[in-house]
């Protein structure tokens, strides 16, 4: 009991869980995967409207060429990640939304860039507006997982007073080490990228939030004389609202955004990508992905071109050890299980987990042990909401705050009856949205 209270004090937010970290790739340096033979680049890889295709079947494309234009403000551009020929623009398996319009590019023999990656630009002369445009033009989205277009987060409405920029380097998901490796190997780039965001937002405070299981990264960042908040390792420390609470003791109001409490949060990977874009003119065409699990021969961190099919990445990592049972894109707590390995890596893909076996557990009756209530970082009552959803009592589920659920999975993780609570909440949310539309 005292442990629980101390835990909440030290980690800065209530609830949460401590799943086994299993970050066995944290020493694996990022390896660059060569250009794959084919890529499937979805026009929708981000929150918001899909990009509008700019190429057609038969076009020749070069690396970095814009193939999809942001359609509206909350949207993002997409770029060719390899050079070659557009063989088709057609619906293809998508890791998040099942299936979506993709640009399929067949690689040419050589790697040709649309323009040579330019020498470092002098950023001092650029205005905030120009920097935001550069970020938007490069198709930068949040690389932590949600893939929210970054230029939107960098353009808060004038009436919101922002005083703090938090850079999220928690990587609280078990297994994943992509952000960790990026921080260790590219600390300077990440910090410079963060400074650009700071300049754009014109905020006095810049704080890096890093979990204390990444001591080397914390040390490196402290050497660079930036403010680092070493946070207690607890899942979901990297969830935006929990992170802000832990660092600033501010609570984002229900249904609100971080800007409502004067701060903006960006992921370390996003900082890195943004710097590459504004300084070197390199759009978002690749990202670091942690490949792990017993179903793949070599566990490693790989720099993968956006649109590379998962099976090509697996082949690069030595192939499957055996016929895998489960392939997850993302981490074990919030990642999405895939039915096929034909899905491409997209901007928000932080990990590829391959498991050779799954332990199916039957859902038991709720014994009201309240472990889910204690674990919920949002202060919800998961088991109550779950029974409302099961009974199709959507209004009550809404009244009990199902829309506040961040789907972190803590409740389902601790449930002794193996109830897939998050599954029911996702259903409940979609029912509420469906009802509000009609």
């Amino acid at each position: 009991m005292i442990l629980a209270i101390l835990d909440a004090m030290l980690s800065g937010f209530a609830g949460g869980v401590h799943p086994p970290e299993n970050k066995n790739t944290d020493e694996c340096a990022i390896e660059v995967m060569p250009m794959p033979k084919r890529v499937y680049i979805p026009f929708s890889q981000h929150t918001g409207k899909p990009a509008r295709p700019l190429v057609k079947k038969g076009d020749d494309v070069k690396i970095g060429m814009k193939i999809g234009e942001a359609d509206g403000f909350i949207s993002a551009a997409v770029h060719a990640s390899i050079s070659g020929k557009v063989v088709d623009i057609v619906d293809h398996a998508h890791p998040v939304i099942g299936s979506a319009l993709c640009c399929i590019i067949e690689a040419s023999d050589s790697e040709d860039w649309v323009k040579e990656v330019s020498a470092a630009r002098d950023l001092g002369s650029l205005t905030g507006k120009q920097l935001i445009d550069a970020v938007k033009e490069a198709g930068i989205v949040g690389l932590g997982g949600a893939a929210f277009p970054s230029h939107v987060k960098l353009s808060p409405p004038k009436e919101k007073h922002i005083d703090t920029l938090i850079i999220n380097g928690c990587e609280c998901e078990p297994v994943l080490t992509a952000d960790h490796r990026l921080m260790v190997e590219h600390a300077a780039t990440v910090i410079e990228g963060a400074r650009i965001f700071q300049k754009i937002l014109d905020v006095p405070n810049l704080i890096f939030g890093i979990e204390d299981n990444k001591k080397d990264a914390i040390g490196l960042f402290k050497q660079e004389e930036v403010r680092v908040a070493a946070l207690k390792t607890k899942y979901p420390q990297g969830a935006e609202k929990q992170l802000i609470k832990a660092i600033l003791k501010r609570e984002v109001p229900r249904g609100g955004l971080p800007m409502d409490v004067g701060c903006v949060v960006h992921n370390v990977g996003t900082c890195h990508a943004a710097l590459m874009a504004v300084k070197f003119g390199k759009p978002l065409i690749d990202r670091v992905v942690t490949v792990a699990g017993d179903g793949v021969k070599e566990n490693r961190n790989v720099l993968v071109r956006i649109g590379t099919p998962v099976n090509s990445v697996i082949d690069f990592c030595g192939g499957y050890t055996t016929q895998p049972e489960k392939v997850i894109l993302g981490g074990p707590m919030m990642g999405i299980a895939q039915y096929s390995d034909a899905v491409p890596v997209i901007k928000g893909t932080s990990g590829i987990l391959v498991w050779s076996g799954v332990r199916a557990v039957e859902e038991g009756p709720c014994v009201r042990c309240a472990a889910c209530v204690d674990a919920c970082p949002m202060g919800l009552m998961p088991t109550e909401i779950c029974s409302f959803v099961k009974n199709k009592n959507i209004d009550m589920a809404n009244a009990y705050g199902v829309l506040d659920c961040i789907e972190c999975g803590c409740c389902a993780y601790v449930c002794p009856a193996a109830i897939p609570l998050v599954h029911y909440f996702k259903y409940g949310k979609s029912e509420i949205w469906r009802k509000s539309k009609t």
Binding site: M1, V17, P19, D91, P174, K241, K245, V252, P253, R254, G255, G256, N311, Q323, P324, E325, K326, V327, I328, G330, P332, M333, G335, I336, A337, Y339, S340, D341, A342, L353, W355, V358, G364, P365, C366, V367, R368, C369, A370, A371, V373, P377, M378, G379, L380, M381, T383, G401, D404, E407, G409, A412, V414, C415, P416, A418, P420, V422, H423, K426
Partner: protein, 339 residues
């Protein structure tokens, strides 16, 4: 869509999260059962092998009742989850050691059939089945339930030398029936008596007398987070405070260590199914149990009030849960700011 052969490898899909902690309902039931076993061993030493016999009948009756009823109703038989074993064990712990062999069988069957399975089985019962069984037996065979005490080996029923006609709490209720009230009250609050109460060297129900072994098992469960500290602290804290404030002739320690309080506070009130799920609610639940217990002990007709206090609070549990919803992250205290 791509051609089918490109999608030939199909994997298992499920909603996140894809990992689960090792906690399992059946495991928790087993751990609670194990935590209660030292008490049984010591009780067997105190009152003889009869204790083991009664307890086994109670457990077997509970398990058989559950399996038979589920079979008759065409449901899946769930005795493997360990909850019926625990109900049988706890019911036995609430019986005097001298009861006839059929009494635990009847009590267990009632507990499982009427208090648990007819409400939908594990997770759906609204009152603690073991306590419901005990209440049923109390109402049906009051004399068997209040008179079949056995003296512990090398001790007396009351914990006081020379008085073997009543348990400590009955003695406190009606001291005049057994001798000079003032002397008896003084003796009850003696260090010697408190020590007997703590070690269990008195007469009482099978599983309630040995405070030492109950605390041992109970604290392990609190540490393992199977038992919620809020209920235990709320119960014992409010009870101790009121025992000190209200007019009673027993000392606070006497009240804490006598009767079924420790058994009830650690093992019965904390039953997952029948206690509130909100954090605030668990405090309220525990405090409510404490208040009702002391009221029954001081002003009620029974010398002891643990089981009725818990049963009463069980009934309030849904109401408590509804009135003490958790505060949602980011919820504004003032009205009308943002919803």
């Amino acid at each position: 869509m791509e051609k089918v052969e490109d999608l030939k490898r199909l994997f298992v899909v499920s909603a996140s999260p894809h990992i689960r902690s090792k906690h399992k309902t059946s495991m928790a039931m087993r751990i609670v059962t194990i935590a209660l076993l030292p008490v049984l061993a010591y009780s067997t030493y105190l009152y003889g092998l009869r204790v083991l016999f009664i307890t086994l009948i109670s457990i077997i009756a509970a398990v058989c009742a559950e399996a038979l009823l589920q079979r008759m109703l065409g449901k899946k038989i769930t005795v493997a989850d360990g909850s019926a074993v625990l109900t049988g064990l706890l019911l036995a712990y609430n019986l005097p050691p001298g009861v006839p062999w059929w009494l635990p069988a009847v009590g267990s069957a009632f507990a499982i059939i009427f208090a648990k399975q007819l409400f939908g089985g594990l997770g759906y019962n609204f009152i603690n089945p073991a306590l419901a069984g005990r209440a049923f037996l109390m109402a049906s065979w009051p004399s068997l339930m209040t008179k079949e005490w056995l003296s512990p080996i090398g001790g007396t029923l009351s914990g006081i030398d020379g008085i073997s006609a009543a348990t400590p709490l009955s003695l406190l209720k009606n001291p005049a029936n057994y001798g000079d009230p003032q002397v008896i009250i003084r003796q009850l609050n003696d260090f010697e008596t408190i020590r007997n109460l703590f070690s269990g060297n008195i007469g009482g129900c099978i599983g309630e007398t040995s405070v030492f072994f109950l605390l041992l098992g109970g604290l392990v469960l609190v540490f393992l987070k199977i038992v919620d500290y809020r209920i235990v602290l709320g119960y014992l804290g409010s009870f101790a405070l009121l025992a000190w404030l209200l007019p009673t002739q027993g000392s606070v320690l006497f009240h804490l260590f006598s009767g079924g309080l420790i058994l009830g506070a650690f093992f019965m009130a904390t039953d997952w199914v029948t206690s509130p799920i909100t954090k605030k609610g668990r405090w309220i639940f525990g405090i409510g149990c404490g208040i009702i217990t002391i009221i029954i002990r001081i002003w009620g007709g029974y010398p002891e009030g643990v089981s009725y206090s818990i049963l009463l609070m069980n009934v309030f549990t849904p109401l408590i849960d509804r009135l003490t919803k958790e505060r949602i992250f980011g919820e504004q205290k003032k009205k009308g700011v943002k919803k």
